[in-house]
């Protein structure tokens, strides 16, 4: 899996205008390609609005949406297809999300400073030394327990606006943090619960589709758990919580998880998966 290392914060100092039609700004971040395993690294130039942008006609977007939907249904492990589905169907919702972020002071900061969650930008030692119950420590525990990494994020390719592409990318990065905040594991049930939350929060069609079709892959006991306790809890919290994309998570690692939940108006999960894991379930 290849990954970019953004070595410097984006030099987007010129933030005077707030027009919705921003002209493409030349990127000033340094991107080092460390491992050229993936196909998209073959082409060293880019002629879209951002690195990795592929310009597509509406017809192609429609085809992509249908094709990626079919493949994602058949093979849920094709995360790149889920990502493509999200990008090709989420344009209007992304605009809505971006506006919500702009209207929130912290969200506006996120949009301006464009933080990216990458293994290279995380100070893992510092996070590991944080007290238990702090957001950063719990996030690290989540990464270790589920053996995931923040770098396995698919790139944004088909969004035709540079800022909206960042919003999409931020949504993907925040997904893991959602798992931590909601206390959900990365098994199918946990993923569906997070999808329900995200569908209620963001309204992204891809989330809604995942929320509708994900349960088809659950066994009866888990379905029961979903419909009786987890599901309603996830939906309720999705609707009432503050916009999760507007939080500058990178500055809140040492904040207590409980406090962060209170601030975001997220109630703790009805089922504690961590205890179950400890009991060897």
């Amino acid at each position: 899996m290849s990954y970019n290392v953004a070595t410097a914060a984006l030099g987007h100092t010129d933030r005077g205008e707030h027009s919705s039609h921003r002209s493409p700004r030349p990127p000033t971040l340094c991107v080092h390609r460390l491992h050229t395993g993936r196909a998209d690294r073959t082409f060293s130039h880019y002629d879209g609005l951002y690195p990795g942008h592929i310009i597509t006609t509406p017809f192609q977007k429609a085809l992509l949406a249908v094709g990626s939907g079919v493949v994602a249904l058949q093979d849920p492990y094709r995360h790149d297809m889920v990502a493509v589905l999200g990008e090709t169907t989420g344009h209007l919702v992304l605009i809505n999300l971006r506006d919500r972020m702009r209207n929130d002071p912290e969200g506006y900061t996120v949009l301006t400073e464009r933080p990216k969650i990458r293994l290279s930008t995380l100070d893992l030692e510092k996070m590991a030394s944080l007290p238990d119950g702090s957001f950063g420590r719990e996030y690290l525990r989540f990464l270790e327990d589920n053996e995931v990494t923040p770098d396995s994020r698919a790139e944004v390719k088909f969004v035709d606006d540079e800022e909206l592409a960042y919003v999409m990318l931020r949504y993907r990065e925040v997904h893991d943090l959602m798992h931590t905040l909601l206390g959900m594991p990365t098994n199918m049930l946990g993923e569906v619960a997070v999808k329900w939350f995200e569908a209620a929060q963001t309204g992204l069609p891809m989330c809604a589709l995942g929320a509708l079709l994900g349960p088809l892959r659950l066994n009866t006991r888990r379905l029961q758990s979903l419909f009786t306790s987890l599901g309603p809890w996830a939906l309720q919290n999705g609707w009432q919580a503050r916009c999760v994309l507007s939080i500058f998570y990178e500055r809140r690692w040492d904040q207590s998880l409980e406090e962060l939940r209170r601030e975001l108006k997220i109630q703790p999960p009805p089922v504690d998966f961590t205890k179950r894991r400890k009991n060897g379930r």
């Binding site: 196909a39 998209d40 073959t42 592929i54 493509v84």
Partner: protein, 321 residues
């Protein structure tokens, strides 16, 4: 005589330029200056100065070879699936037509360059084995077993196919496929560059290159190498995407190529850009007449071309005399 001298000089140059010529750019500069042993940079400098096309982009020749290699390394896993999806299975018919026009006889030696996943070579072996079976059935009345004479005749008429490709990933996929199909004997897999083939002169009866020559950086060199390794009387056959003359079909084909194929690439193989390159490279390839001219310039005789599927694919054939 001249051929063996050329071979000796080339081998000496190869020894001294081992590091440079073993790069995937594989440019073999034929001007006299490049036989210098003092500086190994001659090859790569020349290749970096000349520019060529990579799809609709302009790049240096050295750059093109590297990027083409990467493209095929990326697509190798899903190459066959994508071929079926993009051409709706018609590529199998094109390859069958190639074999029928070729009509190889038992005992023929085939070199399939840019053979990748081995489609042509496997078809070739099936075809000659079928021909051999038919001949044996015709010649031998039923009930009789094979005599020693028959067995030694068979040995002499044993055909072989060599699949040569610059890309190890494609060869790996091809070998796995052939093993799965049970086609093993008579088939060999060689890593090699079409512009500088690792074979002696006058070795093969038939040289094929199917949907590969448009990816070669210096096509004229590939044609010269083809002429070199063929036996006198040997046949060069090339299948390649070409110009569609019918304007209605051309519009449909363009629309399909540029709108649908990269989407298929993204959905099936997770790789939009490689397939974008593939459809662009088709547009940059010379048309039927131009390619015929290039073959004649290289020294082939009786050059002919047949259009398949309205010109979407052209089959070019020429002889070394």
């Amino acid at each position: 005589m001249a051929a063996s001298m050329r071979l000796l000089v080339r081998q000496l140059a190869r020894l001294s330029h081992r590091k440079v010529t073993s790069t995937v750019s594989g440019v073999s500069c034929r001007s006299a200056c490049c036989w210098r042993t003092s500086s190994g940079r001659c090859f790569s400098d020349a290749a970096e100065d000349r520019s060529t096309h990579f799809g609709f982009e302009t790049v240096s020749e050295a750059e093109k070879a590297k990027r083409v290699y990467k493209v095929f390394e990326n697509v190798a896993q899903k190459y066959d699936v994508m071929n079926d999806a993009m051409s709706l299975g018609i590529h199998r018919l094109w390859k069958d037509v190639l074999l029928h026009v070729m009509h190889p006889q038992p005992g023929a030696r085939l070199l399939d360059v840019a053979g990748g996943t081995g489609d042509i070579a496997v078809r070739f072996l099936d075809y000659v084995r079928y021909q051999l079976e038919r001949q044996k059935r015709r010649d031998t009345p039923s009930g009789q077993g094979s005599s020693w004479q028959d067995i030694s005749d068979d040995r002499r008429r044993e055909s072989s196919a060599v699949v040569c490709d610059i890309n190890k990933e494609m060869l790996k996929m091809g070998k796995q496929k052939a093993d799965r199909m049970g086609v093993v004997s008579g088939l060999s897999w060689v890593v090699g560059d079409a512009e500088e083939l690792p074979f002696d002169d006058d070795q093969f009866d038939i040289y094929t290159i199917a949907f590969g020559i448009r990816n070669v950086t210096r096509m004229d060199q590939a044609l010269q190498e083809a002429l070199r390794v063929l036996k006198p009387g040997g046949r060069f056959m090339c299948l390649e995407f070409s110009k569609v003359t019918n304007p209605v079909l051309a519009r449909l084909y363009d629309a399909y190529s540029f709108q649908v194929i990269p989407v298929l690439g993204e959905v099936i193989a997770g790789d939009w850009k490689s397939y974008q390159y593939l459809v662009e490279s088709i547009r940059k390839f010379p048309n039927q007449q131009e390619f015929k001219g290039m073959m004649e310039d290289a020294g082939f005789y009786c050059v002919q071309h047949h259009d398949l599927t309205g010109g979407v694919v052209a089959l070019h054939s020429g002889f070394k005399l």
